[in-house]
């Protein structure tokens, strides 16, 4: 059974159809990338998967529960228990130190544990920056704190919306290495990215266009059978699909 099973979701904002009848299944331990042009609905999809928004239509089955039908209070609990979020803008609390920022996630989840939080910072190579405020950290360091915070409660699903969008190449490499490590350890990761290099590291890449899945690209590796799927898209996307196919 997939850990996440999206069935025919649509999201309508007034007159804008941000998502249109999207189906997607994600297996336990999978590393999935989502790509697509600006405004194609990537963030909308992440918000729905991350239990911060509900689809206008369709089902989102996370760990056997349809989160589209849950109350706001239950969604809060799901976020706390099952989701780890990584943001393009890091969103560290500016008046708390790196360590305290990690501990905030523990605080809402269960119990703040300084030792464990320090270990998490150590894992992203920041144990020597634990007492620094976000304003005293570089962008790359802030993103690593954000990652440590996302991982501290061992989430079932790690969601990252353009995690390298604000980073230079060197820091992008560091963050990517952390994701690879996470993947090796068996975490389920979904990353939204504009960067083909980042997407390439994932097992599959879902390409969104105009709120629909234009295609799914398998990046090789053993066991990746359900390689790609065709959706009715615009002519130009069809031609690109052909190009992708020829690559396979």
């Amino acid at each position: 059974m997939p850990i996440l099973d999206i069935k025919g979701i649509s999201k309508i904002y007034g007159s804008v159809k941000a998502l249109h009848n999207v189906d997607l299944a994600v297996e336990q331990g999978e590393w999935l990338a989502i790509m697509g042009p600006s405004g194609s609905g990537k963030t909308t999809m992440m918000n729905i998967i991350g239990c911060m928004d509900k689809p206008t239509e369709g089902k989102v089955i996370l760990d056997g529960v349809d989160i589209a039908a849950e109350s706001a209070r239950n969604l809060t609990a799901v976020r706390r228990e099952k989701i780890g979020l990584i943001f393009q803008q890091f969103h560290l609390i500016n008046y708390l130190t790196a360590l305290e920022n990690v501990m905030v996630a523990q605080y809402y989840h269960s119990m703040p544990d300084e030792k464990e939080a320090l270990q998490a910072l150590d894992r992203v190579g920041l144990s020597n920056r634990a007492k620094h405020l976000p304003s005293q950290l570089s962008g790359g360091e802030q993103q690593r704190v954000c990652i440590a915070r996302a991982l501290i409660n061992y989430p079932m699903l790690v969601l990252a919306d353009e995690p390298t969008g604000n980073l230079d190449e060197a820091n992008e490499g560091i963050v990517l290495d952390i994701f690879k490590q996470l993947h090796r350890e068996g975490s389920t990761v979904i990353v939204v990215t504009h960067d083909p290099e980042v997407a390439q590291e994932a097992q599959r890449t879902v390409v969104l266009e105009h709120g629909r899945i234009a295609r799914i690209i398998a990046n090789g590796g053993p066991g990746q059978t359900n390689a790609s799927r065709l959706e009715d898209g615009a002519p130009d996307s069809q031609s690109r699909q052909a190009a992708e196919r020829s690559k396979e």
Binding site: T43, M46, N47, G50, M52, D53, R73, T76, A77, R79, R80, E81, I83, L85, F87, Q88, Q89, H91, I93, N94, Y95, L96, E100, M103, V104, A105, Y107, Y108, H109, M111, P112, D113, E114, L133, R149, D161
Partner: protein, 377 residues
Amino acid sequence: MTKRSMYFKMITSALIRRRSGMFVALLAVAIGATVLSGLVTVYYDIPRQMRQEFRSYGANLIFVSSGGDALSEEEAAAAVACIPEAQAVGIAAYRYETVKINEQPFMAAGTDLAGARATSPYWFVSGEWPERDGSVLIGQEVADVIRLLPGSSFTMTGTDLQGEAFSRDFRVAGIVQTGGTEEAFIFMSLADFAAVIGENGAFDVVECSVSASQAELEAIAARVTESAAGVAPRLVTRVTRSEGAVLTKLQALVFLVTTVVLLLTMICVATTMMAVVEERRKEIGLKKALGAPNRGIVAEFLGEGLFLGCLGGVLGAALGFGFAQLIGINVFSRAVHFQAALAPVTVVASVFVTGLACLIPVRRATDVDPAIVLRGE
């Protein structure tokens, strides 16, 4: 680290490390608390002092015999016992007798001089109050007529209770000016009075200065009528009336100003908190995205607010005394006393007002949509 210590870490860090916004609220609370504690100090202390000072216009309760003759010592004691000890400012029992100096008649008054001094602190004495037997206080009129100065001596003559003539020398300790009929009197201790006139165990009048409102005075008078037979209490109403009117006006003013200031404080805190919540929408969204329940968000913002309220209250309680002192000295020309019990009341009131002011902003905080953290608005 426990959940609670993390909670305190979060709210204190937010206040100390952010250093903005909330400090305007702190200032507002501190000013409100200062005015509150300052005015309430004035409200309690100045009337209390003024009541005491109104007393300096003399006795406000006197006891005479209901039969028209003298009060026995027992009757006087029974009447005085009706006055609560804490409220008795001064009590002086008087005996009067006509005496002569240089063949001119004057009225001699025997009394407990310390009691008379307490009852009538406004008496102006040149020289000294008598301290030894044989020295007396004479009124200005007496001094003028027989040309006496403090320190000079004179001979008093007259007839005692047994009808026998007496003649005795006295020293003038001081000359008293009152602006009233007392200036025609010769005041001496009861012992001296008894030595020349004789002892009969009776008083002509008992004058009392009581620190009490009109209603309390009436209650005391009623008790005297009831429990001290033969005693007629008389209220000196002119003083107590004016006293009451001034104090009532002062208190109404203080109440009004305090209410208005607390309301302004509340409005200021509420708008500041509103701005702070608006400014911290991202942070709130993030906390919600991390799974903070609404009551967690409420607890944090309310916690910050109440912490500020408490801090502002403590500041206000301290500054309020200075403020009260300023008003006391500049407006009422007297120093106020520190009211220890008022400090906790000020803190509690500040916390309460801040809490009330935070309700709507905190409600706003819980309405923040966690989806904004991904949307980068």
